[in-house]
């Protein structure tokens, strides 16, 4: 017996719109079952996971802070995924951007100038883009699978950061802790509201998502992205180059991931340390899909996923559940988004085995 996916002739329009909400609902149900199995009251747990963080100004700011990198990276990834380039290594580009952006405050910490911050942001973007240029080059010119190369580069970036903060960039004043010196005030992204910690990075995220949305919706470049993503041959006929699109999409998403990285270390952490991300680069993949690969949808999805981080911390405190619960929720969410989308497009059929039909080919 084998399982076959058969394309539905007419996928329901309503269901495809509802799909992300359906997935969210299923995640909550599965989460409730999981809490029950852990011996906690599902109602209580879900309340403190999903609702409580929304009732408090402090945690709303936390959500905005955590949504910032998710939206920045997720919006860039929509360009990649719509053009059929599967950048899985945004986590690495995030770290590369953070490192490149930290060059100024770490190596020139006595330089006090309003130029520091803009320079850091530009360096961050360049760093992320250059790091994404490696899988782009390998795919465009060596026909390498970008999923593998970009993912493997994540671990290289993580270990490189680890080496930097333990070695050449370790702060002389940190009692051998593996951290760089604290960034000088000119190198810190300013907060934008008096009520809490939300910084300028959140504005970058909104602007980047809106800009990409405009590009996808109204411009020839956006048209090029969707045509090349759907049919390389038709794109070639239109005079578009899929090789140039590899470069474009990887550099854009890498640049935005780099910007997210430098914003995080500048606005939130204020220094470099071995771990600077709870997996934003990977979670942003979920954000991109939950946001229907639409940059505006990514804003909403980014806020939802940020809630899972904050909610995870909340249940850890109130119910004494491991913080790994966050990853579980994120995994459930991605699983349900993808399965909803698949089942809306396809129906499952069980086929009971027949005699091997291996030699019939495709001659027409």
């Amino acid at each position: 017996m084998r399982i076959e996916l058969e394309k539905r002739a007419k996928p329901s329009m309503l269901l495809s719109i509802l799909s992300p909400f359906l997935a969210l609902g299923l995640t909550v149900i599965a989460g409730g079952i999981m809490f029950a199995l852990l011996g906690k009251s599902p109602g209580m747990a879900l309340y403190s996971f999903f609702v409580e963080p929304l009732l408090d100004v402090w945690s709303l700011h936390e959500i905005a802070i955590k949504a910032t990198p998710l939206i920045l990276i997720g919006a860039g990834l929509t360009v990649c995924y719509r053009s059929n380039n599967w950048n899985i290594g945004a986590e690495g580009q995030f770290i590369a951007g953070a490192i490149a952006g930290a060059i100024v405050p770490v190596l020139f910490h006595d330089w006090h100038s309003p130029l520091v911050l803009p320079l850091m942001l530009v360096f961050g973007m360049i760093g992320g883009a250059l790091y994404a240029a490696i899988p782009a080059f390998l795919k465009a010119h060596m026909n390498t699978n970008e999923i593998l190369t970009s993912l493997m580069l994540v671990y290289i970036a993580q270990l490189f950061l680890d080496w930097l903060v333990r070695g050449p960039w370790r702060s002389p004043d940190a009692y051998n802790f593996p951290v760089t010196r604290d960034f000088m005030p000119e190198a810190v992204l300013p907060e934008i509201l008096a009520s809490g910690r939300t910084n300028l990075g959140f504005v970058f995220a909104l602007v980047a998502a809106a800009g990409l949305w405009f590009m996808m919706r109204y411009t020839l470049k956006g048209f090029e992205i969707s045509v090349l993503g759907q049919s390389e041959r038709a794109g070639r006929f239109a005079g578009f180059s899929s090789r140039r699109m590899i470069w474009f999409s990887m550099l854009v998403s890498g640049g935005l991931a780099g910007l997210a990285g430098v914003s995080e270390v500048s606005g939130v952490i204020n220094k470099l340390q071995p771990i600077i991300s709870p997996g934003y680069g990977f979670t942003a993949i979920i954000v991109a899909f939950l946001g229907r690969l639409n940059p505006l949808g990514v804003i909403a999805a980014g806020l939802v996923l940020a809630l899972t981080y904050v909610g995870g911390e909340a249940v850890q405190l109130t119910l004494n559940i491991s913080d790994k619960i966050t990853r579980v929720f994120q995994g459930l969410l991605l699983f349900f988004v993808l399965s909803c989308d698949t089942l809306i497009q396809y129906r499952i059929r069980l086929v009971f085995s027949r005699i091997g039909r291996s030699s019939e080919g495709g001659a027409l």
Partner: protein
């Protein structure tokens, strides 16, 4: 032609008025066919004649609409390839289904019932390959093998089932002449053992060389059954392409205009094992002319289109010229800016993106040539949807495109209507040069005549039109000049008025440089 002989032993396979309908279209219309034991029987016909449909019914891939198949004088229903194999029919398809990462033996084992050890499969495969002169290393990886060797795997795979009848679909189309000679020796051995072979081909020379009898199909009907050795290539070609006299030309060229499209010794290496390389293609299309490139599919037509359109530019800029300018190294957008328009063969996913609305598909082909009217916002390149929609409506009206709604997805249109839109999209620009690959392939008669008329009108207004087509009716209806492409080589260009179907048929069958009257009748 000579009637199906009823003499001798009872046939191994007999087909009685077998019909296959796709909607109202009869791909096979009341086909009669007999294959005797121990003969090599040719199935001849142009593309679209119904050969593949017929053999797919014989191998259980398609179910016949009506008619009967008799196997060893008993009526059978072949419901699946498994059934076909069990009763003793093996088939070698034109395109192979092999896993490149696996070895020869592993690939063969995949087609056998599970539970047979790989060593035993390899042993048996070696034995068979030696017996039939099909040298094959069971341990070799398929990825490392040539096309000819891959075909041997398929043949050995078929032979392992010990079939009484082996069907070969265009087996030499992917082979070098030397590989083909080897294959013929194998076929002779099979025949000597009393097995029968059903040999599908459009190559007259081959058929005359190895086949005992031939059945000729045209437009889904049997137009002749004969002994190919007793026929001339000319008479075979006539059966294959029809014997009607050429129709009157639509375009009357008074004096030749300037050369608007030209290739000089255009050679392009094959991009993949199944692609054809172009060899020294020379052609000229003058203003006001329609040059038709005739030929059986897979002889380099799409490669020629790619080189002319610039989707795959060629290294030597001078080999392709549009309006006197060397454009070989330029891409498709630059060639469009010089006034050329292109219509590829495949509508879905090449000429159009099916999921996008028609207006977006207009932007697809004209995003650079109509930059001024379609794009705004300077470097931002904002698409002016209003202007595009207006142009899209104009095209739909001019070409009488029937669609549901104002701007439906391209994929929701019927083939004919989408094709009218795709052709209209180029005509709307009044291109100086138009290159069209299979303009009416799979299109209903009404749309086809509308499209042909539009091509004729364009040429009349002084443009150069190049039509790549397999449809001889179409060629005689529109073309002023004809050349034939075969295995990547282009024949000389002949004025349509000097040509007969017979002669084109001969050129298509690869009989280059032979006399049309049939002096080559006794070719071996």
């Amino acid at each position: 032609m000579s009637a199906v002989a009823a003499s001798g032993a009872s046939p191994l396979l007999a087909v009685r008025s077998l019909t296959k309908l796709f909607g109202s279209f009869a791909a096979c219309n009341a086909i009669d066919l007999e294959v005797r034991p121990g003969e090599i029987h040719a199935l001849l016909g142009e593309n679209g004649a119904g050969k593949s449909t017929l053999v797919k019914m014989l191998f259980g891939v398609l179910a016949p609409t009506s008619g009967q198949i008799l196997w060893k004088s008993r009526p059978v229903v072949i419901s699946s390839p498994g059934v076909a194999r069990r009763i003793g029919i093996g088939m070698v398809f034109q395109h192979f289904s092999l896993f490149e990462a696996l070895t020869v033996a592993e690939n063969i084992a995949l087609s056998l019932p599970p539970g047979i050890s790989l060593g035993k499969v390899a042993e048996e495969a070696s034995r068979l390959s030696e017996l039939y002169g099909l040298p094959l290393d069971p341990k070799a990886h398929v990825a490392d093998l040539s096309v000819g060797e891959r075909q041997r795997i398929e043949i050995v795979r078929a032979l392992l089932q010990n079939p009484d009848l082996i069907i070969l679909d265009e087996p030499t189309s992917v082979l070098t002449p030397q590989e083909a000679d080897r294959l013929f020796e194998t076929l002779a051995k099979l025949k000597a053992e009393g097995r029968s072979v059903l040999y599908i081909s459009h190559r007259l020379e081959e058929v005359q060389r190895i086949c005992d009898r031939a059945t000729v199909l045209r437009h889904g009907k049997v137009t002749g059954a004969c002994d190919p050795r007793a026929e001339t290539p000319a008479s075979l070609a006539r059966m294959m392409v029809g014997s009607d006299v050429a129709a009157v030309n639509a375009v009357q060229v008074a004096a030749k205009g300037d050369v608007l499209l030209e290739t000089r010794n255009l050679s392009v290496p094959a991009r993949s094992p199944f692609a054809v390389s172009l060899k020294n293609v020379c052609l000229e299309v003058h203003a006001g002319e329609i040059l038709a490139i005739a030929g059986v599919a897979g002889n380099g037509q799409s490669e020629l289109f790619d080189a002319l359109s610039g989707e795959f530019p060629v290294a030597d800029a001078g080999t392709v010229s549009i309006r006197g300018r060397p454009v070989g190294a330029l891409g498709i957008s630059a060639r469009r800016l010089l006034g050329a328009g292109f219509v590829p063969e495949e509508r879905h996913g090449h000429a159009a993106v099916p999921s996008l609305p028609l207006s977006d598909n207009l932007v697809l082909a004209r995003n650079q040539s109509d930059r001024r009217s379609f794009l705004g916002g300077g470097v931002l390149g904002i698409i002016r949807h209003a202007a595009v929609r207006l142009a899209s409506q104009r095209i739909s009206q001019t070409m009488d495109v029937r669609k549901s709604g104002e701007d439906p997805a391209a994929g929701s249109l019927s083939g004919g209507n989408l094709q009218k839109y795709i052709v209209g999209r180029e005509l709307d620009r009044q291109p100086a040069v138009l290159v069209v690959n299979q303009p009416t392939w799979g299109v209903d008669a009404g749309a086809a005549s509308r499209i042909r008329q539009a091509l004729v009108d364009l040429a009349r207004s002084g443009s150069a039109v190049l039509v790549i087509s397999q449809d001889l009716d179409e060629i005689f209806e529109v073309a002023t000049e004809v050349a034939v492409i075969s295995e990547g080589r282009l024949s000389e260009i002949h004025p349509t008025t000097t040509l007969t179907r017979e002669k084109i048929g001969l050129l298509m069958g690869g009989m280059h440089g032979r006399n049309e009257s049939g002096e080559a009748a006794h070719a071996h």
